[in-house]
């Protein structure tokens, strides 16, 4: 009849609990040392080089990668725990998160050996930052529409055009990007895109920051003018990047970061409401916690499938769809409930400040990593409708 939807009740193995304790202890030390404030998601210092290095020293970057590249050959589920704890604590993960989640796995799969040996250990040490160049002006989720060109030249390619909405490009050392190496064919719209490793320090690359409505700056426009990329920086098949890019997205779609981005508002609401809530507040909190628990169980389940070597594309899309819709609604539900909180609650000012920030953050949550509409198209395909 329809595709079998499976969300097996995967449990985190005992080694994860030990690891969770270690991560919590590490984060508590960092907080005590003033590295970051867990009650302040508005981090001016979300990009923190020293923190990134210390996380690397702990062995929490490249956790699932082979040891010969500096990795630690641990499980996806162990990595999952580290991600959860970092997110919940509002730790400054910007410098290493993309490289650890997405760029490293792409390099592992498609980069030549000498590049793996050069770059992966540096990611594991928390020394370098990556960004992802997929969207372009007028393309976004529609990867086929990407126009920025890579033209073959002696020993490599010349890039001309621009990428946009590239998170962290202003601090990134490298970008993994797709560029057009030939036009799409009539038979195959997906043809003609190639994935490249771009050294952001190369000449011909200009990064223009784009300010966000939160007051933060993460997004950028990146303009390429005859930027040179050597041949050995091609990742995978020439003209065949479409499949590579979409399987990469499974990693981007189902992790705990896809439902925890506004989580802090719930904690602060519980704090403000106190230990003896009225019925309305109790019900509101109970529903939100039930939804959070369910999202997490779904996300852990997908992590378990990734660990088992499966490619849960539909399940990951479902987690991303309902996870981001949930984290988008969360600050608004918290606001509903906070309307009845006594303004003398000791954390009232913090709650207000957090809500203000979360409500401004919310609009982007269903866009990054594939818009809701695109995800629902993928799910519909999985149901056999397209």
């Amino acid at each position: 009849m329809t595709a079998a939807l499976r969300f097996d009740p995967i449990r985190l193995p005992p080694e994860c609990e030990q690891l969770r304790k270690e991560v919590r202890a590490f984060l508590a030390d960092e907080i005590a040392a003033g590295t970051f404030d867990p009650h302040r998601p508005v981090q001016e210092d979300a990009d923190n080089r020293e923190f990134s290095r210390r996380v690397g020293e702990k062995g929490w970057l490249g956790m699932t990668w082979p040891k010969k590249y500096g990795g630690h050959e641990r499980s996806f589920l162990e990595r999952y725990v580290v991600t959860e704890e970092m997110r919940v604590a509002n730790a400054p993960v910007r410098r290493f998160f993309v490289a650890d989640r997405q760029s490293g796995p792409v390099l592992l799969k498609y980069a030549p050996e000498h590049i793996k040996m050069d770059i992966l250990p540096r990611i594991c040490r928390g020394e370098i930052c990556f960004s992802i160049g997929m969207s372009e002006p007028n393309s976004g989720s529609d990867l086929f529409a990407a126009k920025t060109k890579a033209t073959k030249t002696d020993g490599g390619f010349l890039i001309n055009g621009s990428k946009i909405w590239t998170t962290s490009a202003h601090i990134a050392d490298y970008m993994i990007a797709i560029f057009r190496t030939s036009p799409p064919t009539k038979e195959n719209r997906r043809h003609g895109l190639t994935q490249f490793l771009v050294n952001m320090k190369a000449p011909g690359i200009k990064v223009n920051p784009i300010d966000q409505i939160t007051g933060q700056q993460e997004f950028n426009e990146v303009v390429f003018t005859d930027a040179f990329i050597p041949d050995d920086h091609v990742l995978g098949e020439i003209d065949g990047a479409w499949k590579q890019a979409t399987s990469e997205l499974a990693y981007e779609r189902s992790g705990p970061e896809r439902f925890l981005e506004t989580y802090y508002t719930l904690t602060e609401l519980v704090r403000a409401i106190g230990s003896d809530p009225d019925t309305r507040s109790a019900e509101g909190i109970g529903r939100l916690v039930a939804q959070l628990h369910t999202m997490r169980r779904m996300s852990v389940s997908v992590a378990g499938m990734l660990q088992a070597g499966k490619e849960p594309v539909v399940e990951a899309s479902i987690v991303k769809d309902i996870g981001t819709v949930w984290e988008q609604q969360l600050p608004h539900r918290v606001r509903d409930l906070a309307a009845f909180v006594d303004e003398s609650a000791s954390n009232h000012a913090t709650l207000e400040e957090m809500l203000d920030f979360a409500i401004k953050t919310a609009p982007k949550l269903t866009i990054q990593g594939g818009t809701t509409e695109v995800l629902r198209g993928i799910i519909a395909r999985g149901l056999g409708l397209r």
Partner: protein, 350 residues
């Protein structure tokens, strides 16, 4: 649809497919199809899944029993399989032998309390007891004891659930039980309520799977504006949302079933699993039923079509063993009492 993952669930799947298919039920308005179905279920030992073999039950594991409830939900039929399983489970906790025939349990809501009198009789009133009118026996928890009561000894005011299934008020007027035993530690009204809530969560998730299946199938058959409606993007997106709600219900219910299968005492983490399952599955039932009917158009609203079997039951099951509002208040109070900094450790405890 989910494939059954064990032989017990496969047996249940086969029996429902053979004896409770849409044609059989739709052509028999008298309800005569129920007797052979119950007979086949009984012969297979499914109603006493959770009763050990030495007590004449099937001795099925908790986990396998939970998967049978998922199958029962996918079938969406009106027989007290879940209720008899719960009764057998409760009686076994008191080492009381389960009798033959349909059973149910009381109380089935958070506000009703039954009393065990000094003379060994039971008093009180229990509302919304599923299938009480059809059951031969009621497994009761009252004042720290488990009792087996002959349903015929109680006064029963008939009522109907949203789906038209019996949901009756049972009056225990100094009723003398067939057997009584002291409940072991940890087995009380709350434990029965949580087990019942979990059973209903699994049934709702199963019903949602069926709703998704028949909605996808129908969208590929129905033509409108010269296209199959499955080709309209708006319909695809609605079905994708239904798949999301179904997935959430399946994940929440199977996670709670897994947690309860390990037989640990009911701590905060286990409470979270069961309460969250009932809350989230009930929310999914509401959203899912709306989408399934939207996809089916007016045909889904008719008695002739099987859609109501799943949608109305999924919606009705929200009310049994504590509604989602009730569990949300309880869960919210627990979270508030533990305090803000203990919320994440609770959620991440497994």
């Amino acid at each position: 649809m989910t494939e059954p993952d064990n032989i017990v669930a496969e047996t249940a799947e086969r029996i429902f497919a053979d004896l409770a298919d849409a044609q059989t039920i739709n052509h028999d308005k008298s309800g005569a199809w129920k007797a052979p179905l119950w007979q086949a279920l009984t012969e297979s030992g499914l109603p006493l899944s959770w009763v050990p073999e030495e007590c004449d039950g099937s001795g099925t594991s908790m986990a396998e029993g939970f998967s049978v409830l998922g199958v029962a939900g996918r079938a969406g039929v009106s027989v007290p399989l879940a209720e008899t399983m719960l009764a057998g489970w409760l009686l076994t906790q008191g080492k009381i032998k389960s009798p033959e025939g349909m059973m149910t349990v009381a109380p089935a809501g958070p506000r009703d309390r039954l009393t065990l009198n000094a003379d060994g009789t039971i008093s009180g009133r229990a509302r919304a007891i599923p299938f009480a009118k059809e059951a031969k026996h009621i497994a009761v928890i009252a004042g720290g004891s488990i009792a087996l009561v002959d349903a015929g000894a109680c006064k029963i005011d008939a009522g109907l659930s949203l789906a038209g299934d019996h949901s009756d008020t049972v009056h225990f007027d100094k009723v003398k039980p067939v057997a009584t035993a002291k409940a072991p530690d940890g087995v009380d009204e709350k434990a029965l309520l949580l087990m019942g809530a979990l059973a209903r969560s699994l049934q709702i998730a199963g019903a949602l799977e069926s709703m998704l299946g028949i909605s996808v199938q129908y969208s590929g058959e129905r033509v409108a504006f010269e296209k199959k409606i499955s080709k309209f993007q708006a319909v695809q997106h609605n079905l994708a949302k239904l798949a999301g709600e179904t997935s959430a219900a399946l994940a929440a219910a199977s996670s709670a079933a897994d947690a309860f299968s390990h037989g640990a005492p009911i701590d905060d983490a286990l409470f979270l699993e069961a309460a969250a399952a009932k809350i989230r599955c009930s929310e999914a039932a509401e959203k899912g039923a709306a989408i399934a009917h939207q996809v089916h158009g007016a045909i889904g609203f008719t008695q002739e079509h099987i859609l109501h079997r799943y949608t109305l039951r999924a919606l009705a099951w929200r009310d049994d063993f504590g509604s989602e509002s009730y569990w949300a208040v309880e869960l919210g109070r627990l979270v508030a009492k533990r305090g803000a900094d203990e919320l994440w450790p609770l959620v991440a405890s497994r």
